[in-house]
Structure formats: C-alpha cells, structure tokens
C-alpha cells in the first residue's frame, strides 16, 4: 500500500501523485509548498484575528469590557506581530507566488526547490518562537518593538517574539531570492520581460524589497535581543546609545514592508481586472514600472514615521515630499485599472468583486496616507486611530482583499474544484460592508483625538467605538464564510476544468490541478500578455 499503484496518466496531478505526510513535509514541489504556506498563514490569520476580536469586544465600553489593561496591551501586540510578519508578508508571495511564479513563467519549478522548502521550515521555526512568546505570557511592546520599552521595561518574552520575527525574516529573504532568480533565468522561450503577467512584475518588485529591506530588520532585532540579554547599549541612552537610531533602522525595513504587503495585491488586481473586463490592461508598461517605482521610493520615505520624534525639520520636509511622491505610481495603477474597465465587457464574478473592493478601499487608504505624509496634519493625527484606520485600509482593505481575490481566482487551479459563486459574492459583500463599518469610524475617532493603543477611552467616543466593534463582528463572519465553502469545495465542488474564467496566461494552459511538473513540454509564448481579443469578448 505504501507505494501507489501505477495510476492512469490522465488523473495524476500534484495532489494525488504521492500520498502520506512525508510526501508533504519533504516535498520540493512549489505547488505543495504553496499549500503548506496556505495552511500555515491561515492558522496565523485565525490567531491574529482572534486577538483582534478580543480587542474590539473590549472596546465596546469606555472603561473596557473584557480585559485587564496589561492584557489588552499584549493583545494588540500579538495581533500586530502575527498579522504583519506571519500573515500579511508571507500571504500572497509565499502562497500565490510559490504556486504561480513557476507556472506563469512556464517552468517546472522554482530555481531552487530545496531552498524553497527550507524557507517554509524557517518560517515555521520563527512562528513557533513567536507562538511560544504568546503562550508564555505575551509581549506588550506593540509590533514595532520600540526601544527602550522593548529593551528595558517590557516583560521577558520580547526575546522570543523578536527572535521569531528575526528568524522568519530569513524565510522572506530566501523566498525573494528564489523568485528573482526564477523570473530572470527560467522564463519560457518567447516570454520577454514585457510579456510577463503584471503579477510577476509585482512579485519581482516585492522580492527586491524583501532582499534589500529584511536584513536591516534582522540586524536591528538582533541588537534588541543582545541589548536585553547582555545590556549592549546601542539603543540605550543611559549607556550612550540612541533609541531614535532604533526607529530609523526599524522603519528603514518596516516602511518598505508595507509595500511587501500591498504590491503583490496590486499584481493580483491587475490580473483580475483585465481578465474580468476581457480587455488588455490599459498602460501595461506604466503598471509594470509603477511597481518598480514604488519599490524604489519605498526605501526613501521611512522618516515619515518619525515626524514627532525630534528629527530635523529639514529631514522631515524631505521625507514628507518623498512620501507624497509614492502617491504618483500608486495613482497610476488605480487610473490604469479603472481605464481598463472602460468599454470592457465587465463581469462581476467573486474574484472581480474583491478586486473592485480593493480599488476603492486602497484609494481611501492611499489618500488618507497623504494626510499623514504632510508635516502639519501629522502632528495632530500622529498615534491616533486615524493612523490605525489608514493602514488597515491599506493592509486589510488592500492587501487582504487582494489576497482573497487571488485565492478565489486561482482556487480552481489549485484544487481543480469550483466553489459556490453565489456564496463567494455574498461573502465579498459582507467583508466590504463589515470592513467599512469597522474602520471608517476609526478615521473620525482619530481626527477627534482618540489615541491608539489605549485600553480605555472617554465616554463621548463610545458610539463610534461600538459601531467599529459591530463592524468587526460582521467582518469576522465575512472571513469565516470562505473558510467554510473553500473546505467544502475540496470534496464536493464541481470540477473546474483547466480554465474556468477563460483567462489568459500560461498557468491556465495546464490541467487543474496541474501535474507535478506543470507542463508536459516547455511552452512557447507567441503573444503579448492579456491578449483578450475581440473573439474572446464575443465568447463571454
């Protein structure tokens, strides 16, 4: 029984080619590793989500309904650490990137399959360290680990959490390295740079940020760990160090990290918008280069997190101007997506609803970013709920909507099964409504002056806080529905066929689910990306 009998060649795919737990834990197949990541990031998403639920329940009452203030601090810290480092950063790159990069370039696997498996294990080890920090009593530094709180005053689990993030960083670097080499070296004949799907341009730009940014975070967290253990005082003013240096180093990575989260989503949306408009994307090269531009500028704007830290006014001016500059490539993308819709034959299937939700919410998040990028308004809004609302519009309204849109789009390819489209559209709507109800009141709260990270608040803020908590419960339902029907579809969903959306791209030219090595023979690309001609438009 241990070795499977010779299966008929037609039905063999990467899911049933081998059985048993070993065939998963020792696999070097990029598609299986993608599914390992899918399971792990979903696990971390549920933990991070549970922390968010507890926080929103607590904030129903001005004096706090549920948690001790110290516990509340630990909740928002764990929520931030887990959601940023263990869900958002690996979500699209590690799940969809792993699954799609080799298929989209027409290759049989990534350039370094074993390194890819190693990346997953490194990620899991980092995750275990962080989970240990949760179980051992939590961390109350916030996801930013600011010194001297993290080095001197916070409780002892900072070590475990910081080391967890440090270790996971290597997973991120190795994944990025693998993608860049694969996109450079393994493109199928005829697949020139300007025929690449825009998802790959986005993943490429993201990988560059991972390779260039993550080491700085790694060394910074290592210094924090050294400071806690051996009183190495690089960030400790009592020993002649400087806590502001920590902020510079931290944000040098962590601002670009925001683009690690949003750029892949932008790539997904580019795929979805063009597929469901049945039209070649408007301004392909502008969309492609705007990804690169965002990646480059992202390294020059970290100081906008530090406008009130006492950095020089002139530095503040430059950082402010550069931060405004990020709006240009971002807006180019939004305008090109909407221009693609114009005169397209748009159909509103579930993935498209997520994509449209992304465009709206990302625009809101992006525009409120400009409020924060201008020096004067930032003094008022700094460290208020306005900031929380802003980055949740980017990270949840943007990155997470893109992730879900992509998951709905490529799920039939991954599993070979269709999910119920009606439920999927319904959940997209629930998420959109729940999301706005959760986070829009937080813009107002922040504008009125409610600071972030507090377990209590003045009574006049209660109405808006209750609205936000109500929205969060709707949002939670919205996330649980796909969990149910995705699992349902694995067993009971109707077979998807190779290309259920009539989409373009090499990944749709293989069976669903694809065979272990993706392509029987190396494909040759003879057309531009997104060649949705008139013929296809009539078919749909």
């Amino acid at each position: 029984m241990s070795t499977t009998a010779v299966a008929p060649t037609t039905g063999v795919n990467y899911l049933n080619a081998q059985y048993g737990i070993r065939s998963w834990l020792l696999t070097t197949d990029h598609k299986r590793i993608a599914l390992l990541y899918l399971g792990s990031v979903t696990f971390f998403f549920l933990i991070g989500g549970a922390a968010a639920v507890l926080m929103r329940l607590h904030l129903i009452e001005p004096q706090g309904a549920l948690l001790e203030p110290a516990t509340y601090n630990k909740m928002f810290s764990m929520h931030g650490i887990i959601m940023v480092f263990f869900f958002l950063i690996p979500s699209i790159p590690a799940v969809m990137g792993n699954f799609l990069v080799p298929m989209m370039v027409g290759a049989r696997d990534l350039a370094f399959p074993r390194l890819n498996l190693l990346s997953w294990y490194v990620y899991i080890v980092g995750g275990l360290f962080t989970l240990y920090a949760v179980v051992a009593g939590g961390v109350d530094t916030g996801w930013t680990f600011y010194t001297p709180l993290s080095t001197t005053y916070a409780n002892g689990n900072v070590m475990a959490a910081a080391l967890g993030v440090f270790i996971t960083g290597f997973s991120s670097i190795l994944t990025g390295l693998n993608f860049v080499v694969t996109i450079h070296k393994m493109r199928a004949p005829g697949l020139t740079w300007f025929r690449l799907p825009l998802f790959l341009w986005a993943i490429y730009a993201t990988s560059i940020i991972m390779i260039l940014g993550t080491p700085v975070l790694a060394i910074t967290l290592l210094l924090v760990a050294l400071e806690r253990t051996f009183h190495v005082g690089i960030f400790d003013p009592a020993l002649g160090g400087d806590p502001i240096l920590f902020q510079h180093l931290f944000w040098f990575y962590s601002h670009p990290a925001v683009y690690i989260m949003i750029l892949p989503s932008m790539g997904v949306v580019s795929e979805l918008v063009t597929c469901f408009s049945r039209k070649r994307i408007f301004g392909y090269s502008f969309v492609a280069f705007s990804s690169v531009a965002i990646a480059v500028i992202s390294f020059l704007v970290w100081g906008h997190h530090m406008f009130v830290s006492g950095q020089s006014v002139y530095a503040g001016l430059v950082f402010s101007a550069l931060s405004f500059a990020v709006a240009i490539p971002s807006a180019i993308k939004v305008f090109n997506w909407t221009a693609t819709l114009y005169k397209g034959s748009v159909s509103y299937q579930a993935p498209m609803l997520y994509a449209l939700g992304f465009i709206g919410l990302f625009t809101m998040g992006g525009l409120t970013g400009l409020f924060l990028a201008s020096l004067a308004t930032d003094i008022h809004l700094h460290d208020t709920y306005f900031v929380i609302a802003h980055f949740h519009y980017i990270m949840v309204g943007g990155a997470l909507m893109g992730y879900l849109g992509g998951l709905h789009f490529w799920w039939p390819k991954m599993t070979g099964r269709l999910y119920p489209d009606g439920w999927a559209r319904f959940s997209a709507l629930v998420i959109f409504i729940g999301f706005n109800l959760t986070f829009f009141p937080q813009y107002i709260l922040g504008y009125l002056g409610m600071p972030r990270r507090y377990a209590v608040y003045p009574e006049e803020f209660q109405v808006l806080n209750v609205m936000s908590s109500a929205g969060a419960s709707i949002l939670a339902v919205g996330y649980l529905i796909p969990l149910v029907y995705f699992i349902w579809s694995i067993r009971y969903g109707p077979p998807a066929g190779p290309n259920p959306w009539g989409a373009k791209g090499l990944e749709w030219e293989t069976p669903s689910p694809p065979p272990t090595e993706n392509f029987e023979e190396v494909p040759v690309v003879e057309e531009e990306a997104y060649a949705y001609g008139e013929k296809e438009a009539h078919v749909v």
Binding site: A111, F112, I173, G176, L177, N178, V180, V181, H184, K185, M186, I211, L212, G213, T214, P215, V216, A218, I219, T220, L223, L226, F230, H231, V232, G233, I234, L239, G240, G241, D242, L245, L249, F252
Partner: protein, 220 residues
C-alpha cells in the same frame, strides 16, 4: 575549446552563443549567468545591507559620543590586524587560483587552492581570537569598556563578531565545496560561486578594518 575555456561550463558556451546574437552584441548578456551565481549575488547584496546597517549604526553612535575611546596601540593591535588583513587578502588570491583551476577542470589542484584559502581563513580567525583575548584581558566586554563609553565594546564585538561568523561559515562552506568538487559532484561554477562569497567576506573586512581599527589608534 577556446570558448569553453573562456566561459567555463559547457552550458555557458551555449549561453554565450545566444548572447552574441542578442542586443548585447557579443559582450555577453549580464543575464547569461547561472542561477546559482545569480542567487549568490542576490544573497551578497542582502548580506551587504546587513553589514551596512551595522556599520551605519556604529558610525552613528560613534559620532554622537563625546568620549569614544582610541584604544588600539600601533603595537600589537594594528600590526596584528594588518597581518590579518594581509592574510585575508592573500586568501582571496588563492581563491582566484582555485576558481581558475576549477574552470580548467583540474579538480585536485582546485581543491588544494581552496585548502590554502581555508588555511588563510583559519589563520585570520585565530589571530582575531587572540586580539579579542587581549581586549577582554584589558576589560572590554559586550556591555562595558575600561575607557570612555561602554558602547565601544558593544560596537566592536558585534561588528567583528558578525564578520568572524561569516569567515567561519565561509571556511566550512569552502571545505564542503572542495571535498565535493574533488569527488566530481559539483561543477566549476559551484567553485566560482563559493569564491564570490569568500571575496565578499574579504571586502567587508576592508570596511571594518579602517572604520573600527585605523580610526581608533591611540596616538602617543
């Protein structure tokens, strides 16, 4: 045969033929390098940024400090570190010889040159450990220093420690490559890729040596 010698692996000869017909007009497309080599370059860029962050942090706290010590005497510290620098640079030369021998498929010769390189690396580590021992005897710790700011000890041990770790990893890495290459299980490109790493580790020292040592010499 001529192309083979010039470009190394048989695959590279094919790449070169493709490259000649491309827009790079015979110059050899920069993309026509192997996956492993490209991967190593990306790793080196990433690692270079790790060291840059640490060197910038070091410079930052040093410039901000009023009492940064100048603890290194010309003898023995600077002499010793100059010898270390010389040893490390020499090991880069032997590495070049190893890569060259590898490309000519002289596997045993390549392994010997790599062994010489490893010897250089080990000598560097031993001399550096002696240097550490002397400083520790004088009372320098990760968190304290007998002269001026305690940050001197922190910066010194973190920077040189990270670099020494890289050298140590490099020695193990080279040992693995030499063994497997001699047994015919690796290609000459693998030797070249390990050489890239080794030269990078050398190059990092060329920043640490002046910044940490030469700028901190006690003038008497």
């Amino acid at each position: 045969m001529a192309t083979h010698e010039l470009t190394g692996t048989p695959g590279a000869a094919l790449d070169a033929a493709v490259a000649r017909e491309s827009a790079w007009s015979g110059g050899g497309s920069p993309y026509a390098i192997g996956s492993k080599k490209l991967g190593m370059w990306l790793f080196i860029i990433s690692d270079a940024i790790t060291f840059s962050a640490l060197l910038i942090a070091y410079s930052y706290v040093r410039v901000a400090s009023n009492d940064w010590p100048m603890p290194f005497h010309f003898w023995p510290s600077i002499i010793k570190t100059t010898v270390m620098t010389f040893v490390l640079l020499t090991s880069s030369v032997t590495m070049v010889m190893a890569v060259h021998a590898g490309k000519l498929e002289r596997r045993a010769t390549a392994a010997k040159w790599i062994a010489a390189t490893m010897l250089g690396g080990l000598t560097f580590i031993v001399l550096h450990a002696l240097e550490w021992r002397d400083l520790i005897h004088e009372g320098v710790r990760l968190f304290q220093s007998p002269w001026g700011t305690p940050l001197f000890g922190a910066a010194f041990f973190t920077l040189t420690g990270l670099h020494m770790t890289h050298v140590a990893i490099g020695v193990v890495y080279l040992g693995t490559v030499a063994t497997l290459f001699a047994r015919g299980r690796l290609s000459s490109e693998d030797v070249e890729v390990s050489g890239l790493y080794w030269h990078f580790v050398d190059l990092v020292w060329m920043f640490i040596f002046p910044l940490v040592y030469l700028l901190s010499v006690r003038m008497s």
